[in-house]
Each structure stands twice: as structure tokens, then as C-alpha cells.
């Protein structure tokens, strides 16, 4: 199964819509609830990252009987130092993002904790791609 969602920068009202849709699909597929939670928490953090940092983005989700692979591709400023961005506590978030309850430098580390595989590639001035894989079987 393949799904696509567009994400707009600064659109905090709709941040989480894609994650919510994916959660519904995984529920219908009877995926284990603890696995669903890992998927949607990681995806939601990544979705918020696009809203908070990029200009626009697309989320692609591919689901088969063993796993879900989500790719979040944004046009944005990019991440100059990915290792630094992966460190807990490091954040470049705006005051507006912090008002929404985010921006404490926990997003990427938490995505990593919940994902079975996380790949982050970025080009400064172009954008960032985050690929999150979660397997359904323990």
C-alpha cells in the first residue's frame, strides 16, 4: 500500500494529520498497538519537524506485510550538521515551535529510538530526507 501526504510549513493546525491517517490504516491492518505507537510517534515528530523547519514537504508511506517505510522529503534550509541535530537537547526551533510544545531538541533522538532504521540525508539550502523503517514483527 502506498500513501502520500503534503505538509505545509508553519501549518500547526494540520501537523499530525498524516501521522493520524497512517495510525488509522495500521489499526485496520491489526498491527500490534505497541508497534503502531512507535511508528506514529516517530512519524509525528518528523512531521512536526517539517512544519517547524522546512518550507514544504511530502510524506510517502509504503506498507507491506512485514514493515512500514516512511520517507519525509522536504524543501527547506537543510541540516548543516546531522550528528549535531541527532544530539538530545540541540535545537534551532523558533519560539513559535516551542509554544506548540516542541523544539527542545528531542525530535530526532526520539525518532531514532522508535525506528528500527533511520536514515537522515540533507543538503543545505535544498532540503532534508528522513527515512524511517519499522518492522511489524518483534
Amino acid at each position: 500500500m502506498h500513501f502520500e501526504y503534503t505538509v505545509q510549513a508553519g501549518d500547526f493546525s494540520n501537523a499530525g494529520f498524516a501521522s493520524s491517517q497512517i495510525k488509522k490504516v495500521l489499526k485496520q491492518l491489526n498491527v500490534d498497538t505497541s508497534v503502531i505507537k512507535r511508528v506514529v510517534v516517530a512519524l509525528y515528530e518528523a512531521e512536526v519537524n517539517i512544519v517547524a523547519h522546512a518550507y514544504e514537504g511530502i510524506i510517502y508511506a509504503d506498507i507491506d506485510d512485514q514493515k512500514i517505510v516512511t520517507r519525509l522529503i522536504d524543501k527547506g534550509p537543510g541540516i548543516p550538521d546531522i550528528n549535531q541535530a541527532m544530539q538530545e537537547g540541540f535545537s534551532t526551533a523558533s519560539p513559535q515551535v516551542r509554544e506548540m510544545g516542541f523544539g527542545a531538541g528531542m525530535g530526532l533522538p526520539n525518532i531514532k529510538k522508535n525506528a528500527d532504521n533511520l536514515q537522515v540525508t540533507s543538503k543545505v539550502g535544498v532540503g532534508t530526507e528522513v527515512k524511517i523503517t519499522v518492522f511489524f514483527a518483534a
Binding site: 499530525g16 509554544e99 506548540m100 510544545g101 528531542m106 529510538k113
Partner: protein, 95 residues
């Protein structure tokens, strides 16, 4: 849902902290009154949220909460006072 028993509570205004929790059957106590509070609860399988410091639930928040069968409570007390009462009443901390 008003008859549900809740075992644990977590108090935070930082949704990223809430998103690190694995606990089920918990109450979220927060002073963050916006749509992302509801979204965070949705992703975290939390269905009870207590808003402190006179934070008001907006229509948008209410709609999303209804879609997810959530219980929302508004409270005029400070976070400190609220969690003190709940702790005394026997709600457990997560860590």
C-alpha cells in the same frame, strides 16, 4: 469513560517529553492548551487530558478529541497544586 480507573499521571508542557512515554492508562496533566496537545495524546494512545492554569479547550481541540474518544478536563489550579492533589489521591508517577 468517566468511570475509568487511571493508574498513572504525567505532567508536562513539553509534548516531546510526552512522546517518549510507553505507559498505558495514564492521565496527561498539561498547561499547553493547543491542538498539538490533542495530536500528541492521539499518537501516544492517551485518552485523558487535564488542562491546568485556566487553559481553555478550543472548538478545534474538542473536535479532534471527540474523533479520538478522549476525555478533556479544564482546571483553574496551577500545575503544582493540581499534581499535588492527584498524587495525594493515589495516582502514580511514571518515573
Amino acid at each position: 469513560m468517566l468511570d475509568d480507573e487511571v493508574e498513572y499521571a504525567f505532567a508536562s508542557d513539553l509534548m516531546s517529553d510526552v512522546l517518549t512515554l510507553k505507559t498505558e492508562n495514564m492521565l496527561l496533566v498539561t498547561g499547553l492548551g493547543n491542538i498539538q496537545t490533542i495530536r500528541t495524546a492521539e499518537m501516544s494512545d492517551i485518552n485523558k487530558i487535564l488542562f491546568v492554569r485556566r487553559k481553555k479547550v478550543t472548538e478545534e481541540m474538542k473536535e479532534l478529541a471527540e474523533d479520538n474518544d478522549m476525555l478533556l478536563i479544564e482546571c483553574n489550579y496551577s500545575m503544582f497544586r493540581t499534581v499535588g492533589i492527584l498524587y495525594q489521591a493515589g495516582l502514580n508517577p511514571i518515573y
